[in-house]
């Protein structure tokens, strides 16, 4: 938190050119795992209170975007900006700065109870009253968790675990919530529920949400900004409507875009 120098610099020309109103932004970020490039000069971001979606086929580098923000992936070029200043902190410090991450695959702490899982979301707080207040509000948002709050997380169904992971992310009272494939491997009816919940969080709590998703239809209904990645590069950015209009998704997914690719994982 040492450099709070609010430079009013305009962002380098991102693909969308909307630059500085972004609260969380990747500028020309590249990520390499060894010799393999997972992201190449990707610039994207999300404005305050907005819900941005990153889409793309498998191995396009979607999840790497979020991992780069959280310091879990080796950023080899470019920088991540948070509220206008570069985000440089250890992973566990980033949460305290208001960014919360819900990793892929419903990674809840299976040997802990539901309420313990939730409390872990804001463990760094020493204020028990505040913790309790947040716990109450999250449990209010997810009635299903309230019923199960004493159960072990391992006993829950996939959808419930996803809700738990979401709730755990919200416990940090984040300004920005990063969701990595929140509907992966869930039954269609649960998928719908998850999207509704994500939408509700975005609308009611005014949380900025950055979601990586393979389920295009569901996410485009709730997103206000959309990015399409393919093979580690940004191939499209704009409104959800623009994505649907350009047919780019069908091209990317069904392999009609042409394979001018570099190596990627």
């Amino acid at each position: 938190m040492e450099q709070q120098s609010f430079t009013t610099q305009t962002a380098p020309t991102g693909l969308n050119g909307s630059g500085s109103d972004m609260t969380l932004e990747l500028r020309d970020v590249s990520v390499h795992f060894g010799a393999v490039a997972a992201l190449q000069n990707v610039s994207l971001g999300v404005s305050r209170g907005e819900l941005a979606a990153v889409m793309g086929p498998n191995g396009a580098g979607k999840s790497t975007v979020l991992k780069a923000i959280m310091g879990l992936a080796p950023v080899t070029g470019g920088q991540v900006f948070w509220r206008g200043s570069p985000l440089v902190a250890a992973t566990h410090e980033i949460v305290k700065q208001g960014i919360s991450f819900v990793p892929q695959g419903r990674r809840v702490f299976t040997h802990l109870s539901v309420s313990e899982n939730l409390e872990l979301g804001c463990l760094y707080l020493n204020d028990r009253a505040e913790q309790q207040r947040r716990l109450d509000s999250v449990l209010e948002l997810f009635p299903i968790l309230y019923d199960k709050r004493r159960d072990m997380a391992s006993q829950m169904s996939g959808g419930q675990q996803q809700m738990l992971a979401l709730g755990r992310g919200l416990m940090a009272n984040p300004e920005a919530l990063l969701l990595d494939e929140p509907t992966l491997g869930l039954a269609p009816i649960i998928v719908k529920e998850v999207f509704e919940k994500v939408h509700e969080i975005n609308e009611k709590l005014q949380t900025t949400i950055f979601v990586v998703e393979h389920n295009i239809k569901g996410v485009l209904d709730i997103a206000s900004r959309a990015y399409v990645l393919d093979k580690g590069r940004l191939v499209h950015s704009g409104t959800p409507r623009s994505v649907q209009e350009t047919n780019i998704l069908t091209d990317v997914f069904l392999g009609r875009l042409g394979a001018d690719s570099e190596e990627e994982p």
Partner: protein, 449 residues
């Protein structure tokens, strides 16, 4: 492909165990007094194993690699009691107190203190205070702690004066925290400042009373030396973790590399202990007198009760910390999924460091008890470690209940086995049990849920 035993083989093994149990039962009925004696001995030995297993489980289920230093910690703990007490107790029979050892340990403590001060305070104060001044103060503080350690070690006969007040203050602060924590929990954190006041008053009172008692009673030196030993072993463990394991874990090497590295540490430390103390077995003083009581035909020493009590108290303390404090929650979260734990804002390096410290302190305590029970020798650590590990495999690896249960079960089985076999075979029985469990019930008695 691993070849698993078929169902019939498993059945045969179960039958075998049942026969053994029936045999033991029959022997117990035919001579109940002896059974009482063996049972009590088993529980007493089992308590040491359980203590070992509890600490081991704490470390293993957090970092998921097998740390052999943990065994050396047991020997280290036992030998530092010997180091602090032998001069007085054995009347200068062993001239073990050497400046070299004191200086080395003081340096280790100073280094660890510097790291602790850095991680705990540097980040918090560096914006408010000049960074260089902060570093100088921190360095000086760490040096002071190191010098203090050196002094404590150099003059073991004044332990009650040099270390007594410190221990009293530490217990007072712990009591303060405990009371405040309980108060906060009861009042839901919304209570008035009264809780804090009560805590400060009672903690302070406790510290002062305890300090007076400790300083004025030279007999407390043995118990104080236990505390010093646990702290020392824990500090060395912390230094190893911070200096070595963190670096190796970051490179996420295979568990075997970590294991072999800790094998090297075990080898080196065992040899260091042999150099300082010679490799022949040494006695530790009997803390509660050696006059046995007779209960139900069995001769039982006060020390045995103490061992069992320590194991149960250790279990309860660790259990409640893990269950109810946010620290415990963080520990369990790291054991579950370290990356996600980091993502939700837990400083995993610090938490794991504390786990190492606490775990090795447990090992040291087990080592001390084992030393009081029989004798100490430099190689005792590895065997104790393996027994602790067997206990946790028997109980169900990664499960705290399993650790204490496994410890007592292992102790009992060892004792009942040497009823008919000669006493020297108990290690063989223990490892036979291990292989039996790993082959047929790798989950243990109480599987980790």
């Amino acid at each position: 492909m691993l070849s698993y035993f078929s169902r019939t083989e498993r059945l045969i093994a179960t039958l075998l165990v049942a026969i053994v149990l029936i045999y033991i039962g029959w022997r117990a009925i035919s001579s109940p007094e002896q059974a009482m004696q063996f049972g009590f001995n088993g529980l007493s030995v089992g308590a040491i194993y359980a203590l070992m297993a509890i600490g081991f489980t704490l470390v293993y289920s957090t970092v998921w690699f097998f740390d052999l230093y943990y065994g050396a910690a047991a020997a280290l703990g036992a030998y530092s009691v010997f180091y602090l007490r032998s001069q007085e107790w054995l009347g200068g029979q062993y001239q073990v107190n050497t400046p070299v050892v004191n200086i080395i340990l003081a340096m280790v403590v100073a280094g660890v203190a510097a790291w602790v001060i850095h991680t705990a305070f540097y980040g918090r104060f560096k914006e408010r205070v000049d960074a260089t001044a902060l570093r100088i103060v921190g360095g000086a503080l760490a040096m002071a702690i190191g010098i203090y350690t050196g002094l404590v070690l150099t003059f073991p006969s004044y332990l009650h004066i040099t270390f007594g007040p410190v221990a009293a203050v530490a217990i007072g602060v712990a009591a303060l925290w405990g009371i405040k924590y309980l108060y906060d929990r009861v009042s839901g954190g919304r209570g008035p400042r009264a809780g804090l006041l009560i805590a400060i008053l009672s903690g302070g009172a406790l510290a002062i009373t305890l300090g007076l008692i400790l300083v004025n009673s030279p007999g407390s030196k043995l118990y104080l030396s236990w505390a010093v030993s646990c702290l020392l072993a824990g500090t060395v463990g912390l230094a190893l973790y911070r200096g070595l394991y963190v670096r190796m874990r970051q490179r996420s090497r295979s568990p075997l590399i970590m294991l072999v590295a800790s094998l090297g540490i075990l080898l080196a430390l065992t040899a260091c202990i042999s150099i300082v103390f010679q490799s022949a077995p040494r006695p530790l003083p009997d803390p509660f007198g050696s006059v046995p009581w007779t209960i139900g035909g069995a001769n039982i020493k006060g020390f045995n009760f103490f061992a069992i009590g320590t194991a149960i108290a250790g279990f309860l303390a660790l259990f409640s910390v893990l269950k109810w404090t946010s620290f415990g929650r963080a520990v369990r979260a790291i054991g579950d999924d370290e990356e996600v734990a980091r993502v939700v804002g837990i400083n995993t390096t610090v938490i794991v460091a504390i786990v190492f410290f606490v775990g090795t302190a447990f090992a040291a305590m087990a080592g001390i008890l084992s030393g009081h029970d029989t004798a100490i020798q430099p190689r005792m650590g590895l065997l104790l470690l393996l027994k602790g590990w067997i206990a946790s495999v028997v109980g169900g690896i990664g499960n705290l209940y399993g650790a204490i249960l496994g410890g007592f079960v292992l102790g009992l089985i060892e004792q009942f086995a040497i009823w008919d076999l000669a006493g020297e075979w108990k290690d063989v029985v223990a490892f036979g049990l291990l292989i039996l469990f790993l082959s047929f019930w790798p989950q243990g008695l109480l599987p980790r849920k």
